[in-house]
Structure formats: structure tokens, C-alpha cells
Symmetry: C2
Subunit: 412 residues, 2 copies
């Protein structure tokens, strides 16, 4: 069954590859329109998912993630419309050269081809991912979670009809209706049909994709983000940035999970940080040296240094030097976002050179690692691997390139 899906996607890809920006933008605008027009239908289908979730005893916060209402659907439509204004990432000449023998070699962006997106309960991803793939000229195969299957099917159907109205093949957007584990595993092995697999979801899903996929994967997501308070830190900046990075939205991957404090400022800064984090009831897992300065902490274990709490918890370690801080961070980093708070030019330069992650900050909250905040206009996830793309994945990251070589009879 999935092979058929793959064949159809490959055919659609061929069409989409040479579609004009105007045609793709028209399709996006039709999608947005159709979603709004069919709001009631989507809500009805979504209610089936909600009812099933309630029956299975899903938590209210999970049900909230699943829920679609008029406002949310109009938000999804708006996000789709926003893509229209962004530059078309396909057909951009990245570079070019004329060789001594007269060959002109141009490097030009092209779509990746067929992108498979495996995601979990949030139904908005269905439209998000499809719209980003469409804009970047990629056919998409969506495989959402079973919790949202009715909502996803409704939205996929609406999107397929909308793009057909714009003269694009419906199969540019396909949804896998089988939500079994087997269908996900089959997608991971569809070499020849799927060019790239992007998992969007929790650590379990991502690791399953990395372990089982034979098609190339862009790993997204987990963030054990550190903030290092240097000897030369502006204490006030440190406290406010840490408060923001930990508590403004603790459930996301760019939230701060670990603090590293230089010994020379630990006695000054730790009580102030504790006081501020106490406002939100943040649990602090402190090493011995930090625990001796601030009370009411839990002893930090090795596991704590590696954990992505995704909640009101944080680990703290006191170090003797920037060197030790960088060493600690490089041991436990998930390669997402790392930050130094320092007024020292030399310390800032040393930190940004020694610490390797998708985003390395000086004196700013790690919460800025986000396609919107980086000015990309949209993102399909945040890559924590080094191959292909790192950090927020915007439209350019959904493209590859080809070399076009213009000759007049050259032989070698």
C-alpha cells in the first residue's frame, strides 16, 4: 500500500519540481481559504478524535493539544497565507563559475523531492508541514498519530482538493491513513520513494526514526540547553535571561535545562537566581558547591546534567573556569542551544568557539532558537544534527541543489 503512495508522490514531485512560484502560492491561498470555509466540518471530525481521547482517559493537557476550534483553524489558515509572502526557495543560483575550458557551472537550488513527516498528536502539523513542503516544491507524505486521525484526514482531504483547484496534482499532499507502528516503519524504509524523513515529536519517536530509517533523516528536537554564568557576567542580565529561558515556556526544546556557574560569582548570583526561580516554584538540582550556597535544592546526579526536564526543574553546577564550563557543556549538550553570560570579549569569543551547538548565544535567552525569531518566516522543526542543516529548518533547508553545466562541445 505504501509503495503505491510512494509512486504517486514521485509522480507528483516531478510536476511540482517545475511548478512556478505563482502556482504554488495560489495553491497555498486556496488551502487557507478552504480550511476556513470548512471549519465546521473540521471541528466535527476533530470532535470524534476528542471523544475517543476522552474515552481512553487522555490527560486534559493532551486533549487541549489535540483540540481544534474556529480560532485555531483560522490561525492555521493565517500561517499558511504567511508563506505566500516568503521568497521561493527553489531556482536560486547559489553560486557559479566559468572554468578555464569555458564550461559555465551554476549551482541552483531544487526541491529535496519527497519528504515524509512522521508526527504525533498535534493536528496543526498536518497543514504546517504540507504547506512548507508545497512552498518549497516538495511532495509530502504525512503520517500523523492515531489520536488525530479524523482531524488529519479531514484537513488532508481539504488541502488536496484545494491544490487540485490550483492545477497541482492532489498527490503533492498525501496522508497515510494507517496509523499503526508498521506504517511508520515502512515509511522509514522507502528508499527510492522518500528522499528525506523528518520526525516531529518526542525523543522516543525521533530515536525510533534514527534507529530504523534507511532513508536519510533530519533529526529534530531535544534540547538540553545550558546557560553559563561567567566570572565577568553582568549579574542582572544573568538573572533575567535565566528566568526567561527557564520559565517563559518550559515545555519547549529551547528552554534552559542546566546552569553552569563560575565559582567567583556563585555566591552573588545563585541566591538571586534562586529567588527569581522560586517565583515559579522551579525545582533546583544542585551540585555540592551550589547546594552549599543556596538551600532547598535537591542533590544533582549525573542523570540530571543530561536531562531535558521540559518543566519547572533545572540543574546547577559550579565550575572553576570557562574551560571547565565548556567541557561540561560539550559532555552533556544535545547540540541545541547554549549560552554564555559575560561582559568579557575574550570569554565570549572563547565560549562561542569552543562550544558547538546549533545556536551559541552571548547574553541572550536560548528561547530565541526558533525560525520566526531568526527571521525565517516559518520552520518545520529544529535540527540537532550536523548533516544538511542545523538549527531552525526554514524553507531554504527544505531544498537541495543541482549543478547545471553549460558547454559548447567540451570533452575531457
Amino acid at each position: 500500500m505504501l509503495t503505491k503512495l510512494g509512486e504517486r508522490a514521485k509522480k507528483a514531485e516531478r510536476f511540482l519540481m517545475t511548478a512556478s512560484a505563482a502556482q504554488k502560492n495560489e495553491a497555498l491561498s486556496f488551502i487557507a481559504e478552504a480550511l476556513v470555509e470548512n471549519t465546521q466540518y473540521i471541528i466535527e471530525e476533530n470532535r470524534k478524535d476528542i471523544a475517543a481521547a476522552r474515552e481512553k482517559g487522555m490527560s486534559e493537557s493532551m486533549i487541549d493539544r489535540l483540540m481544534l476550534d474556529e480560532k485555531r483553524i483560522s490561525g492555521i489558515a493565517d500561517a499558511t497565507r504567511e508563506l505566500i509572502g516568503l521568497a521561493d526557495p527553489v531556482g536560486r543560483v547559489i553560486s557559479g563559475t566559468t572554468r578555464p575550458n569555458g564550461l559555465v557551472i551554476e549551482k541552483v537550488t531544487v526541491p529535496l523531492g519527497v519528504i515524509a513527516v512522521i508526527f504525533e498528536a498535534r493536528p496543526n502539523v498536518t497543514v504546517d508541514a504540507a504547506a512548507l513542503c508545497l512552498k518549497s516544491g516538495n511532495a509530502v507524505i504525512l503520517r500523523g498519530g492515531k489520536e488525530a486521525i479524523n482531524s488529519n484526514m479531514a484537513m488532508a482531504k481539504i488541502m488536496r482538493q484545494a491544490i487540485a483547484r490550483a492545477g497541482l496534482p492532489e498527490d503533492c499532499i498525501q496522508l497515510v491513513k494507517d496509523t499503526s507502528r508498521e506504517s511508520a516503519t515502512a515509511l522509514m524504509k522507502m528508499n527510492g520513494y522518500v528522499d528525506v524523513l523528518i520526525p516531529r515529536g518526542g525523543a522516543g519517536l525521533i530515536s525510533a526514526c534514527v534507529q530504523n530509517s534507511t532513508v536519510p533523516v533530519i533529526e529534530t528536537g531535544t534540547g538540553n540547553c545550558h546557560i553559563y554564568v561567567d566570572k565577568y557576567a553582568d549579574i542582572n542580565k544573568a538573572v533575567e535571561i535565566i528566568y526567561n529561558a527557564k520559565t517563559s515556556r518550559p515545555s519547549v526544546c529551547n528552554a534552559c535545562e542546566s546552569l553552569v556557574i563560575h565559582k567567583d560569582v556563585a555566591e552573588t548570583v545563585l541566591p538571586l537566581i534562586k529567588e527569581r526561580l522560586d517565583e515559579k516554584g522551579v525545582i533546583i538540582h544542585a551540585d555540592k558547591r551550589a547546594g552549599a550556597i543556596i538551600s532547598g535544592c535537591i542533590d544533582a546526579t549525573e542523570e540530571d546534567y543530561a536531562r531535558e526536564y521540559l518543566g519547572y526543574e533545572i540543574s546547577v553546577k559550579v565550575v572553576d573556569s570557562l574551560e571547565e564550563a565548556a567541557e561540561h557543556i560539550m559532555t552533556y549538550t544535545s547540540g541545541h542551544s547554549e549560552c554564555i553570560i559575560s561582559e568579557s570579549y575574550t570569554a565570549a569569543r572563547e565560549f562561542t568557539s569552543k562550544v558547538d551547538a546549533a545556536a551559541v548565544y552571548v547574553n541572550a535567552s536560548t528561547r530565541f532558537t526558533d525560525g520566526g525569531e531568526f527571521g525565517f518566516g516559518a520552520e518545520i522543526g529544529i535540527s540537532t544534527q550536523k548533516l544538511h542543516a542545523r538549527g531552525p529548518l526554514g524553507l531554504p533547508e527544505l531544498t537541495s541543489f543541482k549543478y547545471i553545466v553549460y558547454g559548447n562541445g567540451q570533452i575531457r
Copy 2:
């Protein structure tokens, strides 16, 4: 055992990440020097491999690939020295922006980290791959074939000593001494230690890596390259380019394997092509229409259209239109190099837009798909996948990037 290797590579990577271009270049020059100085030692070790190969009845052409002599070793040293003059690919600011809130975001190239290279019998790859990885700031784990183990061990030892003299950790270059299939499989699963795996060798090796690897792979190599002779072709250019692309070096991946001929020129061009290819005794697998024009051909099967002959054989198909040509090519392409011969502006543009491959040519031999010919100075292979890099992999393709974000207290 391999875990230890991985740990050492990760440690070396950390050092290499911040090594200066001058230091890496000094190490390259020491490697070249040491290889020449130790020529006799390398030849002695290589003789052990040759003797073992003879005993096992290896073919003379394979033995020739394995063999190292004074001239070849000096050639390897020269290739290493040539890297010194190339621009350092690390630390390049690709782009940068200042956000409305004052954050300055820079996108800067960094090494990929630890690269594992699995390769087959050619011992020159040992130095080639190590030198390219070193120049691009990556630690490398080399896993060569058992046929060349003595030669590889000798050269790895010499290189490790040479880079230590330049103040770099020896573990920037490591060779897996265990040449069993198990060691290759273990390398493919070393997530957390190996950032990228590059297989260099035949289709079997590459497919084993794609199938089994859980670390990201850059797929290299197979080339079923087509040349399409358009209705508006300059017949003379067509014949000379085809002769060059097929016969100048038929064993390589950028050699032409398949011809597609427009029906309007088939009767004129096919006899001329046949005459020219006959000079080298090229076997032609022709479809019915081509076979009706030229005699002495073998009937082409479906398999022929997909085959990479890597020898003096070629398939031919006659088509009714450029559209059909593009369709045929996209069905059988391995995504390496494809070419149109045409004097028509419109046909050239249509072909380069509809045909998707690492390199798409107009009126030039597919043999130019090569790092040296593209002006890259060096290459570690030719990628036929779309993720990360496509076509010849030069030094820039051995890097990733990170975002460095400069703030002054920004919170979100």
C-alpha cells in the same frame, strides 16, 4: 573496542575544531614529507598485501589498484600538499543578520565532527580521506579493506606521527585494524561518536551502509549517466561528446552508460555514433527502433536501461520527444550526471529544468563531474543523494555550520 576509538575521536575532534588553519596546514605538510621519507617502509608493508593478494588469486587489475611504488607514494604526497593552498573551509561567515530586537545572528561554518570513511582496496584513499578531513577540521576513523591492511596501517602510523609533530592529537586520524564485516557494521551504528559516514567503493558497500547505518550517511557513487541527442543537436558535437563520455575512462562513475536519441535525428546520428564507438569495440544494447537503423547490436532489456556497465557497453533508446527523453531519464537515472546535446535554447532550458541529477549538462561530456574539473581542488567522493550535498564533495561539503547569536540581555 570501537567505542574506545570513538571516544578518542570525539576528544580529538574537540581539539581540531579550534585548531588554526596554519596548524592544520603544517600537519598536512608534515604528512607529505613523512610519506616520502618512509617510502621504503610503505613499499615493504604494501608487498605483504600484494603477496597475500597473489596467494588468494586476485586479478592483476585488482593487484594493480592495490600496488604502491615510489611514484605513486610521491603522487599521494603531492595531492596532500595541494590541500595546503586551498581556503580553510572552517570559520567562514556564510550569512548574518541583525534582528529588530538587536540580536546579531551569524551563520558560521564548523567541522562536521567525526567522519567515518569505509573504503575498499585502494590504499591511496587512506591518505586522501585523512588529509581532506584534517584540512576541514574533522577527526576521521578509517576502515579500509582487508586486502590493503598492511599498507593502510603503515600509512596511518606515519600520518599519526606527522600530525603529532605539528601539535595535533594523533587521534585526529585513526584506522580500524579489525577488517571484519562486524567492524564495519559497528562503525555504522556509532551514533554519538560518528557524525557522518562516507562509504567509498562499489554498489554493494554503499547499499550495505544505507541499509544498516544509524549514523547519517553520504551516499556516493553509482552513475547511470545518460546523454540525450535532441532533435536540434549539432551532430558532430553529439558524436564527439558521446565518444568521450563513453570511452575515455569507462570504469568510472561519470562515464556515459545510456543514450537517448530523438527520432528525427536517429537515422543520421546513430550510424556515426556506432562507427565511432566501434573503434573501441563498444557493445551496443539497442531498443527496436535503434536496432532497425544500426546493425550488430544486442536487444536492450529493461535491465539494460538501468545498468551501470562500467565498461565498453552502452544502451540506446529512440524517443519521440524531449518530454519522453526526460521521462525515460528520470525513470532510470541514478541521480549522477545527465546531458542534452542541443542547439535549441528552449530545449536546453526544458531539459535542465525537468531532469534532476547532481549535474545536468548542455553540450558537454558527463566526464566533467569531478571535484578537480569543477574547480574544487579536491574531492572525497561524488554524492548522489540530495540531503546535505550533491555532486562532487569538496572541502566545504565536509563542514556544517552553527549560528552564533550576539545579544545584550535580550529575553523573549
